[in-house]
């Protein structure tokens, strides 16, 4: 194997970091919206969902990446879905064993991790083309980025909707709960607000970059 390919195959920290911010699955790629909106009504649910998704993402990335030479091109999507469905079944039963309350709160959305476009997207776009080491880092990075995004939403919705964070009351009794934040509509609004923040930052960076280039040209 030539040196250049070997160095390309080597896992780098960039695989991990890109999922956190630059290619954040929720805020930048807008993938996996359904669970993001549905179970982010409290920070606790959001965290549990994020961790469950991260586990499935990591495991399916590992399996698909190590089997990538043996999976025929024509049936690859079906194979990926079966691998993912297997791990989701595992997670479903594990959560049920650990905490029945949590399982009830998340409901069918644990099973619905199967159809989270994020996981299939990473399998198709990354794990099927890269070594196991890089796939692990990619899975971890994307998973942490997804969990981070879910927590952002869950925290905002719980603070405004219940006046609490992870179940701890933050305000005095005078605080009037924004009930709409807990309702489905609130999920849409909160996510829209976060996307606005990210859009604004992106636009600002573009403008600054342009200014920087212009300044250099003048100099």
């Amino acid at each position: 194997m030539p040196a250049s390919i070997a160095s390309k195959d080597k896992p780098t920290t960039d695989e991990f970091i890109k999922g956190l911010w630059r290619e954040n699955p929720v805020f930048v790629q807008v993938l996996g919206m359904c669970p993001v909106l549905a179970v982010s009504n409290t920070a606790r649910n959001a965290l549990a969902m994020g961790l469950a998704t991260m586990f499935v993402l990591l495991m399916s990335n590992i399996v698909i990446s190590s089997l990538r030479r043996f999976i025929p091109k024509q049936v690859r999507i079906a194979t990926y879905i079966l691998v993912i469905a297997t791990f989701v079944t595992v997670v479903d039963y594990v959560i049920q064993a650990i905490s029945l309350d949590l399982h009830k709160a998340l409901g069918a959305f644990i099973a619905l991790i199967v159809v989270n476009c994020l996981i299939l997207g990473r399998a198709e776009a990354f794990a099927s083309k890269n070594t196991v080491g890089r796939a692990i880092l990619d899975g971890l990075g994307m998973g942490v980025g997804f969990t981070f995004a879910l927590l952002c939403l869950g925290a905002v919705r719980e603070i405004l909707g219940n006046g609490a964070l992870f179940g701890f009351q933050l305000f005095h009794d005078e605080f009037q709960d924004w009930v709409v934040m807990i309702l489905p509509g609130g999920g849409f609004f909160t996510l829209a607000a976060w996307l606005l923040v990210f859009n604004w930052m992106k636009k600002r960076k573009e403008r600054l970059d342009k200014l920087g280039v212009a300044a250099r040209e003048v100099a």
Binding site: L31, V114, V115, F188, F189, A192, L196, N199
Partner: protein
Amino acid sequence: MTGDPLWSIFVNACLINNFVLAYFLGICPFIGVSGKMATATRMGGAVTFVMLVSSACAFGIQQLLTAIDAPYLRLISFIAVIASTVQLVEMFIKKVSPALFRALGIFLPLITTNCAILGLALFQTNKGYDFVQCVVYALGAGVGFTLALILMAGLREKLDLASVPDVVKGTALTLMLAGILSIAFMGFAGLGG
């Protein structure tokens, strides 16, 4: 739950607990294909059809899995059935209307990973509906999905003509509209009784 009258199941799936606006299922096509009215209508039709077929199949599979006592295979077999139904619909549309096939693009195969359809199969099992109830439930969910998609497409077609700030354009605006629609749909909450 098994004693629910059919009309109440239909109204429930279609309006009160609209799959898109109350359960957040199928958000990806909802945001992706709701740009034009014509595409939205046909996408709704395709999803409704897949829902009906996969709901009927899921009912059969559930009976079979209960009979052989293997509930842990549920998820895997449901998704396999849905994937093959979508394949069927895809071939059908490609044959009948190539133009529509191009318009739907990537979102047609993505019906497989449309959570609304898997969600439907799971919900009907959890609720313990019988066969007729399952089909009515699927029909309601499909009609509800189409309704949400068409409403959204109508709003977005109007918005194309409006001038909105640069930052808000795109997904953020669509999500805000969806939020408002979702609140509007909450008004149906009293219907089911």
